[in-house]
Amino acid sequence: MNKKLVSAILCGAMVLAAATPVMADGGVADGKKIALVGKSAGNAFFEIAANSFKETVEAEGGTVDVVYPEAATADAQIKVLDNLISQKPDAICISANDVNALQAKLEEAMDAGIKVSSFDSAPNKDSRQVFVNQAGTKQVGQALLDAVLDISGGEGQWAVLSATSQAANQNAWIDAMKSIMEGDDKYSKLELVEVAYGDDEPQKSTDQTAALLEKYPDLKVICAPTTVGIAAAAKYLQDNGSACKLTGLGLPSEMQEYTGDDDAHSCPYFYLWDMQGLGKLSAYATAALINGDITGALDETFTAGDLGDYTITEADDGGTEIVLGEPLQFNTENIEEMAKLY
């Protein structure tokens, strides 16, 4: 009786497992097999780049498995990498949840002959062969700071609303902004009053935005270089008809409602990069790595399909990177068009 019961449970589990969308493994025998590892499931931001990555590789005759860890932690990504090392794909392209914690597993993968590229968020230089950067850190810092300068009218208080205090990308951009601000007299009348962290939660971001406005009644601009933070802050500022304006990095489809030059909108313009292009360039870079066209060394060049030629440059952490290009500006003119794309 009980054995029957147990086998019934098992059958249930098997039916469930069989019903799940299992990715095809190696449809084209001679094609390259690439695994794309995301930060966590349910991130619209990543999904766009992943789709474009997949389309590009498939058009070139390879196959892609997009794999997500169960949570946005390095621990969960380690388990995913363990699974991938068992499968021995030709390459792993990863957006890392932590700079350091993946080193052991990524080294193990490289030792097993798997090429390791990364994009969006890089693991440290010892754990990758190449990193595809969406936009140069300095360029992003420059664009954001210029936006702050422009929106504030050249002077006054401004604040940053970031993701978590540990978010590597955000910290790099904030540091870039700070160093640019110190280095140029143009920005001497701007005063960065605080860097607040909303942990990429709407609730906490709202609390933090409210606190910023309370503490600094003369605050002119908030710069939120994170998609969840900018949307939450935009909503708060717009609902309250605040005189404080907003800029930062965000998704056009999330920000469409808040973008405009008049007082009724809280965000005159903001930035992001070409997400489709990021996926595409990463795909070509990973393929070049597999084919031995590049090894990730400085000054190597390769052709990324219709994107053109790219050169490997030195990254801030001492490793190498490929920079996609300038950040894109989204304003009243192009927001409607771009919101349909992403």
């Binding site: 009786m1 009980n2 054995k3 019961l5 147990v6 086998s7 019934a8 449970i9 098992l10 249930g12 589990a13 098997m14 469930l16 497992a17 799940t20 969308p21 299992v22 990715m23 493994d25 695994a35 499931a41 498995d65 794999v67 997500y68 860890p69 169960e70 949570a71 946005a72 932690t73 390095a74 621990d75 969960a76 380690i78 388990k79 995913v80 363990d82 699974n83 090392i85 068992s86 499968q87 949840n97 932590d98 700079v99 350091n100 914690a101 993946l102 080193q103 052991a104 597993k105 440290n124 978590t164 205090s165 540990q166 590597a168 910290n171």
Partner: protein, 332 residues
């Protein structure tokens, strides 16, 4: 008695062999075999070599299940373990980067864990009215917060000298050290829980704390010891976790408490106290590990794996009860 018969099968035959087969542990063994047959058929990469290679990361969490079983038998819960792992991993990495000998690094991890556990134990024994869940929730936030402060902005640290961690992450042939350690510790703690006076006292407290107190059991002392040991095991988990990542960050250990509780409870340890044993917990831990590895090797979506484990968890506990109810209804 409906509602009380958590995971025991009623009408268990008297013969010891039959008793063994029809006990919850017996069912878990069968389930374990079936899961392995299923995984073998499902994933072409599922073999002993890969399983042993992928196991250490999961086994680090099994360390937590061992003392968690004691806490659950007490009828209590500790949700600060993930944060304790985070703090002790962070501090041991820092100690490692000062160039201290590796034995000091190991001691740092264990001592930090033990201190965190003792803090929980101290608060819970001084203010016995407080529910463990809220106290450990607060300490969870605090321990993780301290790790955040220590790590500063960036929130991540990498161990500069990985020799020691490579050593403890080593293997005998293909079998990682951690597997031996988990099994040895599980056996020792299972024997203590099942056969020693200390173990019987833990069950007594879990069944009725007040009665246990009045019959002369040092309730405070025992609870304090168990929470402290829980902390020590967190330190152990942290060490092996660092051995597979050579670093720590503010999300290290995030969610481990739920995994540990799930393993223990699936293994038949009652969350209301007084029932269950470690053998079941250990087998169920391996069932979950094998299932995760097998499904993961075919890149099944992580959320779907969690969904399957969730359904399995509910069904495994619900079905025996439902069948029992139906049987009783038919008899009537």
């Amino acid at each position: 008695m409906a509602g009380k018969s958590g995971r025991s099968i009623n009408n268990v035959p008297e013969s010891p062999i039959k008793h063994m087969i029809f006990s919850w542990e017996g069912i878990l063994v069968v389930l374990f075999i079936l899961v392995n047959i299923f995984c073998k058929g499902f994933s072409e990469y599922y073999n002993l070599e890969n399983l042993l290679r992928q196991m250490p990361v999961y086994l680090a969490e099994v360390f937590l299940m061992i003392p968690m079983a004691y806490i659950l038998v007490l009828g209590e819960i500790d949700i600060s373990v993930g944060a304790t792992v985070c703090l002790s991993a962070t501090l041991s990495c820092m100690m490692c980067n000062t160039g201290a000998p590796f034995i000091v690094v190991i001691l740092t991890a264990l001592i930090v864990g033990t201190v965190c556990g003792a803090v929980n134990g101290f608060i819970l024994t001084q203010f016995e009215e407080l529910p463990p869940m809220i106290v450990t929730l607060a300490t969870q936030i605090i321990f993780c917060g301290i790790a955040e402060i220590v790590l500063g902005s960036g929130g991540s640290i990498s161990a500069s000298n990985t020799d020691g961690f490579r050593l403890i992450g080593g293997k005998v042939g293909k079998v990682p050290y951690i597997l031996f350690l988990v099994l040895i510790l599980a056996v020792i703690f299972a024997v203590i829980l099942g056969k020693s006076t200390f173990g019987r006292r833990v069950y007594a407290i879990g069944t009725n704390r007040l009665t246990a107190y009045y019959s002369g059991i040092h309730v405070k002392k025992i609870r304090f010891i168990i929470y402290t040991v829980m902390g020590t095991f967190c330190g152990l988990c942290a060490l092996f976790l660092v051995a597979s990542s050579y670093g720590a960050n503010t999300t290290t250990g995030n969610g481990f408490e739920m995994d540990a509780i799930a393993m223990a409870v699936f293994g038949g340890i009652s969350s209301t106290g007084g029932k269950g044993n470690l053998a079941g917990g250990l087998i169920s831990a391996f069932i979950i590990v094998c299932l995760r590895v097998g499904l993961g090797q075919r890149n099944v979506h992580a959320q779907v794996i969690l969904l399957i484990i969730g359904v399995l968890l509910i069904c495994a506990v619900a079905l025996p009860n439902i069948i029992e109810n139906v049987k009783r209804a038919v008899k009537k």
